[in-house]
């Protein structure tokens, strides 16, 4: 029987001689993985090799020809994506990316260093696809594909949020996020996905949104918001659904419709649209802005995304407006046009209120709501009483996708500062293009693997705590639906006392609407700060 270890032995584990990373396999203990995809969810969209299995079991029931599937999968992708071939060949292992990943910073697990994460795939590429690797083996950083490698992939590629922070620091611009995307595609070919993603994809494909909420319930939720808005402001608004001939189709992540605190952001959008008299409609068919297909395969992302243009065409709108979301905007901004365009049946978006033409969206025909609102404010079209948000000492989290995927930095800050009087930035090395991920992106925002999310979110939370201590920050704003939910949890663990807000919730609070009664509470039903008069202040 093993003797009890001394504290010094428990503390010094890693000082003992260790095996190299290629020989260290993953120990799947309970609570250290996301639930595997259920067969029915994979089958629902035609993915192959769905089965019931568990990472805890030795036998993952891989299909008999699994090696061939992976080899062919890699070969096909090397041909299709020139970037992948480059990423596989050019890394010089300089280590500049090594300590830039939030998962590495939070866990200290070397395989969470971006360079090593991509080496998990690259070593197989070398060992199985390059001559040097085949001859020199380990000397060339090459190894052979085994079941243990596949298990390691599952473990570590579902511990990367595809946030791209590492790529900002790589002298060659190697994007580990794209390597993760390819690796997840390969895993998906073997039926090895996680259910949080597979379930959302299946629901989205069949019902229109991640939760599988049917059209009548979707409408019902919006009606619920209409009542709440009336209770707060006295103004009754009338959104329309699936209305043909509207000028604008508005699409937002379903988290805004169903999950707190995103729901308050949804109310903010609706209030704004009403106030400016926007001719818009909501779709119960394209009722999901998010696209978890992106975390399974490029093809699935395309299939889910195609609903946006299809619905815009069916309804005959002129252009599209998109809500506050992270990965939705990665899909829209980076891929939609190539995947499902050209959207030549739509017009270049033009604000009906200010006349501004959004040239930057001239090919996708979809405008970001924050950009749209910033333009309204810049042109003095909104009456805002920022004092209503005076109870909030605000900071802002740049979502990975909008910042590194779109370079979208100024507009959110402009809008926030127009509706909040107290605003403080987090330290420079933790915002804008260097922003730290929430730790829950790319389909990893499930509750079963919450420990990983908490350690991955530590660098972000650490920066929030800094501004909390220095400036008394008590509110964190963001423009991403996953953030609204995940950061709430993150704050509760690391920085209690900080609440999370979508930017349009703040807009909704500050917006002075025609015919409104005196507001006593904010959209959350909390009493408004002070009793300042509303008249013409901060216009």
């Amino acid at each position: 029987m093993a003797r009890l270890p001394k504290p010094s032995e428990l503390g010094l584990d890693h000082a003992l001689p260790k095996k190299g990373w290629m020989d260290t396999s993953v120990d799947f203990r309970s609570g250290t993985w996301s639930h595997p995809a259920r067969a029915k969810n994979l089958e629902a969209v035609g993915f192959l090799n769905g089965r019931e299995w568990s990472p805890a079991n030795h036998d993952w029931k891989l299909p008999a020809n699994w090696k061939r599937i992976v080899f062919e999968g890699i070969r096909e992708r090397l041909e299709k994506f020139r970037s992948l071939r480059i990423f596989m060949d050019v890394c010089v292992r300089c280590g500049a990316c090594a300590d830039k990943c939030h998962f590495y910073l939070g866990s200290g697990d070397p395989k969470n260093m971006p360079v090593l994460r991509s080496e998990l795939l690259r070593s197989i590429y070398r060992g199985e696809f390059t001559l040097a690797g085949k001859i020199m083996g380990r000397l060339a950083g090459a190894r052979k594909l085994t079941e243990s490698v596949v298990k390691e992939w599952f473990y570590y590629f579902f511990q990367c949020t595809e946030c791209r922070r590492c790529s900002v620091f790589c002298p060659f611009g190697i994007d580990t996020a794209e390597i993760t995307m390819i690796a997840r595609e390969l895993l998906n070919l073997l039926g090895l996905n996680i259910d949080w993603i597979a379930g959302s994809v299946a629901n989205c494909y069949h019902t229109g949104n991640h939760l599988g909420i049917q059209p009548h319930a979707f409408k019902d939720m919006i009606d619920f918001f209409v009542d709440e808005i009336e209770a707060v402001s006295g103004v009754r608004i009338e959104p329309s659904f699936n209305r043909k001939g509207a000028e604008v189709l508005f699409i937002t992540p379903s988290g805004d419709v169903f999950a707190d605190p995103g729901t308050y952001t949804m109310m903010g959008y609706l209030m704004l649209f009403h106030e400016i008299g926007l001719d818009y409609t909501l779709s119960t068919y394209a009722s999901e802005g998010g696209n978890f297909g992106m975390f399974t395969s490029h093809e699935m992302m395309k299939r889910l995304n195609s609903k946006m243009y299809a619905e815009a065409r069916r309804l005959g709108v002129k252009w599209m407006l998109g809500g506050e979301c992270g990965h939705m905007w990665r899909a829209v901004n980076q891929y939609m046009d190539t995947m499902n365009g050209p959207a030549d049946f739509l017009e270049v978006p033009k604000s009906p209120v200010t006349g501004t033409v959004f040239e930057n969206a001239s090919s996708t025909k979809m405008v970001h709501i924050v950009e749209f609102t910033a333009d309204l404010i810049k042109n003095g079209k909104l009456k805002l009483h920022s004092g209503r948000n005076n109870n909030l000492v605000m900071t802002y989290h740049d979502s990975c996708n909008t910042s590194r995927g779109m370079g979208f930095f100024e507009e959110p800050r402009y809008v926030i500062k127009s509706v909040c009087n107290n605003f403080y930035e987090m330290p420079r090395e933790t915002i804008r293009e260097q922003t730290f991920c929430c730790g829950s992106g790319s389909g990893l925002n499930n509750d079963e693997f919450i420990e990983m999310r908490m350690r991955g979110g530590l660098p972000r939370a650490n920066a929030v705590r800094f501004v909390q201590e220095r400036h008394g920050v008590n509110a964190l704003s963001c423009i991403c639906a996953i953030d609204r939910s995940a950061l709430t949890t993150l704050m509760d663990y690391w920085v209690p006392g900080v609440s999370v807000y979508g930017v349009h919730e703040l807009v909704g609070n500050a917006l002075v609407m025609q015919g409104e009664t005196e507001r006593k509470t904010d959209l959350r039903g909390e009493p408004l700060p002070g009793t300042e008069a509303v008249e013409d202040e901060d216009i």
Partner: protein, 179 residues
């Protein structure tokens, strides 16, 4: 002479050794990073731990006030509690203080400056710290369970309300709106 008094002039050295031992629980690459990077935002685990250990030692060699020690202890343990470690491993760093103290007092002990009773007293203080660490650890784990449940609730609460699976106490919300 009490051990605290003997160690006090060498507090900085003690802190460095304690932190060094702490980092050795991580893989060599990670240990090097934890020690090298001095920017607190680029190295949250290393810098949070180092500064919290300093706070703990200050208090430990000072008045040893519970409240003042709990905060820095919480800072370190909150991290350890989500690093995929068994509780024993997560908290081992506290006990290392005993080994360290003995190593630092090697000559003092042999010169007879330290009595057995001094050692026992010092060990008891470390044990007190360790017990507090256990409380903090279990609190962190409790929080983890709570936030997990809250998140699930937030995700679907609205739907359940709407489907009238949950019924709020009548009048509650409108009351808060009316006054």
């Amino acid at each position: 002479m009490s051990i605290e008094n003997l160690l006090l002039p060498r507090k900085k050295e003690l802190l460095e050794s304690w932190f060094d031992l702490f980092t050795r629980a991580y893989a060599p690459e990670a240990a090097a990073m934890l020690k090298r990077e001095s920017n607190r935002f680029a190295n949250p685990v290393g810098q949070t731990t180092l500064s919290s250990m300093a706070d703990i030692l200050d208090e430990f060699f000072g008045e040893n006030r519970m409240d003042e020690i709990l905060l820095p202890l919480d800072r370190i343990i909150r991290i350890r509690a989500v690093q995929d470690l068994a509780p024993s491993r997560a908290l081992a760093f506290v006990f290392l203080l005993k080994d360290l103290a003995r190593r630092f007092m090697d000559t003092d002990t042999t010169q007879g400056k330290v009595e057995l009773s001094d050692l026992a007293e010092f060990d008891a203080r470390v044990d007190g710290l360790a017990l507090a660490a256990m409380d903090v650890y279990s609190k962190c784990r409790e929080t983890l369970h709570e936030i997990r449940i809250n998140e699930i609730k937030n995700r679907t609460n609205r739907l359940l309300l709407r489907a009238r699976v949950i019924v709020e106490v009548p009048g509650c919300r409108s009351e808060s709106l009316d006054h």
